[in-house]
Symmetry: C2
């Protein structure tokens, strides 16, 4: 194998595939990056068995030459050293070649590295997905779906299925739901007529896979093709191939958790409410579970309070945009409320309560596609 490549291009691909490489792997060769050179270009692969990422650098694209003098071949290089070496090379181009003993030579200007490589025959073959279950969405829309839900997945392994995001297709909506059983985040996306050819209904994607995918995807309108099989999901763009296993098991039916009526509705400015709760939580960090209290007051006022006897107390007064229904006192995790409000870009939110001990719902005003649900904490 031998080729000369643009360093920036190579570095970007390395950063992408590194997202799948973990320091703690059971198969030693997976601590490496697989490099494959063909006449079409260079393909890098990283995998930790759960996630596999391939990044392709075409020989030439839009008239710009990325790779030159390609001699086909492949090798696995140690991911612990290869990225730092490439990043620090002195010139804009790098020559990479292997000998018959899988010794890798990396050359750029006066710098010459010889790394012990490994034969790619030992590298696990990535599964080839055979599926008709494909649909496309825009990269920036997929990033939104991920950001608006993935924070709510469970981080404990007591119920493994809850560490994933439930992706459903129903009634011409693509629907992402995540819950850790204390709060829930839901985002719907109206789908166009392409849904004819899709016949999966519900899968559960590991939260970690979506978080890594979100870090790689660009905030652009580029189309991402999503393909689903029984065990795996593939996100594919022009030069990126992101494969994740799916979680086994049935995701709980969450729709019945969502109250269909409310006793108190509060309309508030998203940012003001977020900042008031953030401040109130400053003194709530040492009490149980970061709990703050919210109370409706006269003249459409809200009061948010928190109190840790050894430290002190905080009282936040806030004018709402409006209030309907009964007065209310409720306690909840400031962290959950902050997480929920942070992903809402709309200026105003609507919060629907059904009493101090029932879950409440946060939605952006005039946007029914985002729904956040939080279970209160018993303190009164």
């Amino acid at each position: 194998m031998r080729f000369i490549i643009q360093r920036d291009q190579l570095m970007e691909s390395i950063q992408h595939v590194m997202r799948a490489i973990s320091a703690r792997v059971t198969i030693p060769i997976l601590s490496g990056i697989k490099i494959e050179a063909t006449t079409a270009g260079i393909k890098l692969t990283g995998s930790d068995s759960d996630i596999s990422i391939e990044s392709f650098i075409p020989k030439e694209e839009d008239g710009i030459v990325h790779v030159e003098e390609i001699e086909a071949g492949s090798v696995v290089v140690q991911a612990k050293y290869f990225p730092d070496i490439i990043r620090k090379l002195p010139l804009k181009t790098v020559e990479i070649m292997t000998d018959e003993n899988d010794q890798v030579t990396i050359r750029s200007g006066g710098a010459e590295f010889h790394l012990n490589g490994q034969d790619t025959v030992e590298y696990p073959q990535l599964p080839v997905l055979h599926t008709e279950n494909s649909f496309e969405i825009k990269s920036d829309v997929l990033k939104d779906l991920i950001k608006q839900t993935v924070f709510a997945v469970s981080t404990v392994e007591t119920r493994p299925i809850l560490t994933g995001v439930n992706m459903k297709l129903e009634d011409d909506f693509l629907h992402f739901v995540a819950t850790d059983s204390h709060r829930l985040a839901s985002r719907k996306l109206p789908m166009e007529a392409t849904s004819d050819q899709i016949n999966f209904t519900s899968v559960v994607i590991p939260g970690k896979s979506l978080s890594e995918l979100n870090k790689i995807l660009e905030d652009s309108e580029e189309k991402i093709s999503i393909s689903v099989t029984e065990n795996q999901i593939l996100f594919q763009t022009n030069h990126l191939y992101f494969l994740s296993r799916l979680l086994d098991g049935n995701y709980p039916e969450t729709s019945r958790l969502i109250p269909d009526q409310s006793k108190t509705i509060v309309y508030a400015k998203t940012k003001e409410l977020l900042q008031a709760i953030d401040r109130a939580s400053l003194l709530a960090k040492e009490n149980r579970n970061n709990v703050v209290k919210l109370q409706t007051k006269e003249n459409n006022q809200l009061e948010i309070t928190s109190n840790t006897p050894e430290v002190g107390e905080v009282v936040e007064g806030l004018s709402t945009v409006g209030k309907e229904g009964e007065d209310l006192k409720i306690s909840f995790s400031a962290k959950y409320m902050i997480d929920a409000l942070r992903i809402i870009e709309e200026e105003q939110v609507k919060i629907e309560f059904t009493g101090a001990m029932r879950p409440f719902i946060i939605r952006p005003m005039d946007n029914n596609y985002i729904l956040q649900l939080i279970l209160p904490v018993r303190t009164y």
Copy 2:
């Protein structure tokens, strides 16, 4: 105590005094920030016994009002909460007041915090320095002196005196020296005639104190007054008072370590050499002490190599600007060399060797005020 203060101004002072506050203090009240209000303005104090910092916010300065409605008084607030509270307040001004039980009320917009404060009578009195040993240097020059030496102090406590920087005044030069016994950094500053009134000759300032001071000082031409007593040193600007204890004991005489002749002199481009050594060190991290080898070659070439059998090897070829004297093979810590080259702003450096087992000297070209010395490592 009561006053209304500009939040940004208060925040800056808090950040300054926080540099002296440590989570691990033996005197509990030192985990707090002391606030004193007088008709002149507000003074904040932070201290961990070793370092004490006072920051003063005048009531009014250059026609700009920083503090209003001052009622004199003082209190100690918990440093764990106070900075975050002030930073997150909603308005540009903050009202701070205490009651007779040292309860502190912090008010800004709809936010109201009540913090348990402590009586300042328990806060240790900072020593008042009585000394004539004062001199002034510019803030940016003092920052340079610190940056060019403090990295070389010892980080182990086997010889406590080496954890400090030796500040000497001799032959009309202010001289900073630091060494961990494997390398040495030295910087001289020609002093003006003011030195008449100074009669200290040599003190040792804890490296940590200088690092913290460097973080607070601005890169400006503002004058810093430096006062020295037997046990303490005070750095003072208009609104800042930075007091540090000095280290006990005699600093070793370092001048005799510096070779007065050389067998090989290499002239190199600072940045090129730094980058080549940085790359060579990538594969040296797992061998003993991050060691690289340097070898002079024909035609004014240098070769820097490193080798870890399990990983691979690197060969860096570099054109020097010139070479005088014998050929040379020498091994040294890449980290020490990188530290030494990083603080040199000049384009070219002069490296003087006296053989493979003798310390060598790195200096910027045409600047005799900076000197770096590194002890080689025996490998050949």
